[in-house]
């Protein structure tokens, strides 16, 4: 009876992709599909057919009388207090939000807000940031509501400027969610190993075995080849980075989830961590290589040193951008495929819309599967590159240019290192001694 089960999974997948998008149509005007708006961060949790959950707004404001800290339970509360008003994104035109609209939970519905705003007699229609699909709106009310919707515009205080915006946004919620999930799952595993369940006896249970596979893979394939004998110092960071990025990526794939790593700030901070650890691990050799590269004539050095220093910064920058762009692009592509249905419907009528529904949703499911793969790969690549950079910085024996038997680990070496027995705590395997394998047999020592 396998076939019905797979069919059920496929239908559930299609529905989970198409349902939120379908409900969007009910809430918006026809031309109003905002793919970028749904990918970027926002001060609310988006359970679209069922409503939105507004998140607390916290501001550090520099007012007329010094710094103060404002906290509101939601955006509506902030606007209703009268001390903050919503400012549309594009033009700096201030539009004070009508107080009766503050009570509306689902502030996105232009039908509700449109009536109120046309009564206010507002400024001409403005396009909000990501609204590339927005056809020139015949209804000013619809565009107006979108432009002054407090959930998609910035809040400005009536007096003073916002110094630091500490508002809890979707990505912050999912950051803490990933952290909570990881602590919940991994800390009990850690205490299990400390009790000896995975060390003196076999690991028990599904989660422990899965985690052990992944952790051992990272240790043996990522940390040891790149970090050398000193790998235990940096292995905790690599494992943390891997599991955190993986969890954040995967949480973005569940229905109603948001990807914390699709925020450039999050990936930038992760890259900064790698950067700081890399510099702290730098040996004297490493710094000498940057500030006085060996083997180049003296007149080339003034050109090479800035390039080396620049290279120091481009590597973490690339780490951040790679993760950010991969995570954002996947969601954007899916939303664009679903949005294609509505665009075709707007251009060619309802029948054509239904006709594009099946191929579009099928493509979305395929891209979803690809995104799942990319989630794992990007976490892995971030970890590998971090290990590589830390290894390059902390390498102590690599740059002795007269070494005769300096070579990259061949598959033979790797097979040797993998067949060596488990090390007890605190023992580092010496790099050059081979006690097993053919090299030991033929070498005379």
């Amino acid at each position: 009876m396998r076939t019905p089960r797979y069919a059920l999974v496929a239908v559930a997948a299609l529905l989970s992709v198409a349902a939120p998008a379908g409900a969007q149509d009910a809430a918006h005007d026809e031309e109003h599909f905002d793919a970028v708006h749904h990918t970027v961060d926002g001060p609310y949790l988006d359970f679209t057919p069922f409503g939105k959950v507004e998140l607390p707004r916290l501001f550090v404001v520099r007012g007329d009388d010094g710094l103060r800290f404002d906290a509101f339970a939601s955006t509506s509360a902030a606007v209703a207090s009268g001390r903050y008003h919503a400012v549309a994104h594009e033009a700096g035109e201030e539009a004070s939000h009508a107080p009766d609209a503050a009570g509306a939970r689902d502030a996105h519905a232009p039908e509700a807000a449109g009536a109120e705003h046309s009564a206010d007699g507002h400024a001409p229609a403005e396009q909000s940031v990501g609204d590339a699909d927005h056809a020139p709106a015949e209804e000013h009310a619809g565009a107006d509501a979108h432009a002054t919707d407090p959930l998609s515009s910035t809040l400005e205080p009536a007096d003073g400027d916002v110094l630091i915006d500490l508002s809890i946004t979707r990505h912050v919620v999912f950051l803490f969610g990933s952290m909570a999930l990881l602590l919940l799952l991994l800390v009990p595993m850690g205490s299990r190993y400390r009790r000896g369940v995975g060390r003196t006896s076999a690991p028990r249970g599904l989660l422990q075995n899965m985690l052990e596979t992944i952790v051992l893979y990272i240790r043996d394939e990522v940390a040891k080849p790149n970090l050398g004998p000193d790998y235990r110092r940096y292995l905790p960071y690599l494992l943390t980075a891997f599991f955190f990025i993986l969890t954040a990526n995967l949480l973005g794939l569940v229905p109603f989830g948001a990807t914390a790593t699709s925020n450039i700030a999050v990936t930038a901070v992760l890259a900064v961590f790698t950067f700081v650890i890399t510099q702290l691990a730098g040996t004297r050799d490493y710094w000498m290589h940057i500030f006085s590269p060996p083997g180049v004539p003296a007149f080339v050095k003034p050109i090479l040193i800035p390039i080396e220093i620049l290279g120091l910064f481009t590597k973490p920058f690339a780490l951040a951008i790679r993760l950010f762009a991969n995570m954002t692009a996947g969601h954007l592509v899916i939303l664009n495929f679903i949005g294609l249905i509505f665009i075709i419907r707007g251009l060619f009528g309802d029948a054509a819309g239904w006709g594009t529904a099946v191929p579009a949703v099928a493509m979305s499911v395929f891209i979803y599967a690809l995104e799942l793969l990319v989630a794992f790969i990007q976490a892995y690549v971030f970890t590998v590159l971090s290990a590589l950079f830390i290894g390059m910085a902390s390498a102590s024996h690599e740059h002795d240019h007269n070494h005769s038997h300096e070579h990259d680990p061949t598959p033979h070496d790797r097979a040797v290192s993998e067949s060596a027995p488990l090390l007890s705590r605190g023992e580092a395997r010496p790099d050059r001694e081979r006690t097993v394998g053919t090299e030991a047999a033929i070498s005379p020592f």
Binding site: I321, R322, A325
Partner: protein, 75 residues
């Protein structure tokens, strides 16, 4: 053609070129990885790992360009 529409045109052309470049680069990478794995099946594990890392790096460069295109289209 005003500046905005030229911006959109640039973004569209750029995104296409980015996809082209990434496809070519990763295609060559995958071809040589497959060839190496065909010649020496026992090295296929190492080859796969290296291929994935290199593919992620190439894709990183492609996505830099894509981010510029998105910035062009939105601003």
């Amino acid at each position: 053609m005003g500046p905005e529409s030229l911006g959109y045109l640039g973004a569209g052309l750029g995104a296409g070129l980015v996809a082209l470049g990434a496809g070519l680069g990763i295609g060559r990478l995958a071809a040589s990885a497959l060839e190496g794995a065909a010649r020496q099946p026992e090295a296929s594990g190492d080859l796969r790992t290296t291929m994935i890392i290199a593919a992620a790096l190439i894709e990183g460069v492609a996505l830099f360009g894509l981010v510029i295109c998105i910035l062009l289209a939105l601003a």
